[in-house]
Amino acid sequence: MTRSANPTRPQGDVHRLLGHPTDLKGHIDAHGPLHVSLGRDRSWQQGLMTSLEASGLTGRGGGAFPTSIKATLACSGGTGGTVVVNAMEGEPCSDKDKLLLIRAPHLVLDGAQYLAALCRADRIVICIPIGRDSVAAAVSHALDERTRQRYTRVQEVVVRPPDRFIAGEESALTNWIESGRSLPVFRPDKGTPLRIGRRAALVHNAETLAHVALIARHGPGFFRSRGTSEEPGTCLVTISGDVHHPGVVEVDHGTPLSDIAVLSKPVGLVQALLVGGYGGAWVGPGQFATPYASIPLRTIGASAGVGIIAVLGDTSCGLAETARIARYLADQSAGQCGPCHFGLPAIADDLARLVRGHGGRDTLTRLHRRLQEVNGRGACRHPDGAVSLVRSALTVFAPDLAAHGRGEPCHHWHKVTTLRFPRPIRI
C-alpha cells in the first residue's frame, strides 16, 4: 500500500473506468486530491512501486507486459524523463482509448502524474493522432481545468502525431517526438529503456494509466478484487462487426469470450470472433468459452491485443475478411524492413488468390512458407501480428479454404465487409 492509498472502494465499482466522473470536481470528490511526492522521496516511491507490483497490472496496449517492470526499467534510465500517454489507438476496430479520454480524462492524466513522480520524470506528453479532434478537445478541456485549479504537479502537453496504424508502436512514438519521424526503431535488446534524446521515456497506453491512478489511490487489493488471480482487474473491450450494438464495454479479466460478445447482440449465428485486433487471431466456436485474459488466450494461439472482439456472422466469408485485413496491414507497413515491405503484400496476394478460387495447393504451400519466413523479421512486431492473424484464419476457416481451393468459393466473399477500415480495401 502506498501512503496515499485510500482503502475505501469508490462507489459504483461496476464500471470503474467508464463510470468515472468526467469533470475535475467530480474526480476529486470521488478520490480526493492528487497525492504525489516529487523529488527524492524513496519511501513514497517504494510504496507506489510495491503497490504496482502487488496489483499485477499489465499493459493494455497489446503487449500485456507488467507495468511495474516497465516502470522499474524506466526509473533506471535516470531522472528528467518523459511519460508518454499513448492514445494513438491505431487499430481501426478499437475505440476504448478515445472513449476513456473523453469520459475520464483525469483518471488517465493522474496515472501519468503518479508514474512521472515515481520515475522523477519532468513532463507528460499526451499523444492523440491528427484528426481525432473530439478526443483532443476533451483532453485540452481537462488540462485547462487542472491548470486553473493548480492541480497538476508535472507539466502536461498534448501532441498530435500522424494517424497511422504503426504510429502508436512505442519506439515509433518516441522517435516521432524526438525527430518527427513516425517510424519504429530497431532495438536488438528490448530490455533497454526507451529514450527521447538522452532522457528516459516511459510509454504507457491510456487505459493502463487509468488503472495506475486507481491502484495508487485505492491500493492493489482494490484492483485485484476484480478479474482473475493471475490476471486481475477490469479491462476495456471494443466490440464490432456483425452486431446490433457495437461499442466499448468494461469487463472483468477472465470473462468468457462468448459472454463479452453477447453484450453487443450479434446478428444471427456467430461463425468466428476476431480477438485482439488486426494483429490478433480468429477464434472458432469450439473456443468461444475461453476466458478473456492473456494466458488462456495464448494457449489457443490468440492474444488479448489491445482489447478488441470483432464478431463474424455466418453470412460473411472469413477468408475474404482476412484477405482485406492482410491487404490493409501490408499498406500500413512502415516499409523500412524488407521482409515486411515485400512479404506482407505477397501474403495478401496469396490470400486474395485463394479467396477468388484461383489459388490451388501451390498457392497455399507458398503462403505457408511466406508466413514462416516473414515472422519475427521486422524491427517491430507489425509483420508478426499479420502472420498470427493469417495463420489463425487458415485453421479456423479450413473448410472454407478447402472449398475455395477446389475453385468453389463461397457466395459471401464479395459481400461488403462488416469490419472497420479507414478507407475501402480491395482484395
Binding site: F186, P188, C337, G338, P339, C340, F342, R370, G378, A379
Partner: protein
Amino acid sequence: MTRLRITIDPVACDAYGYCAELLPEAITLDEWGYPIIADGPLPGELVDLAKRAVRDCPKRAITLRENKRG
C-alpha cells in the same frame, strides 16, 4: 559451438546478400534477397567468416552478439 549469434538490423539491411555468400551454412536468403539467420549459436569454425561478413556488409547491418540463451 560459440556463444555468438548473428543479428541483422532489418531497417539497415538492403538485401546486398554478401553475408549469405560468405556464410551459406548460417545465412540463407528469402525470395526478396533478405537474409534469414539459422537458429542457434554460431558454430566456432564460422566465427572468422562471420566477422568478415560484419566488416563487408555495405549497410553495416550485421552484428555479432553474445547469445544470452547459450
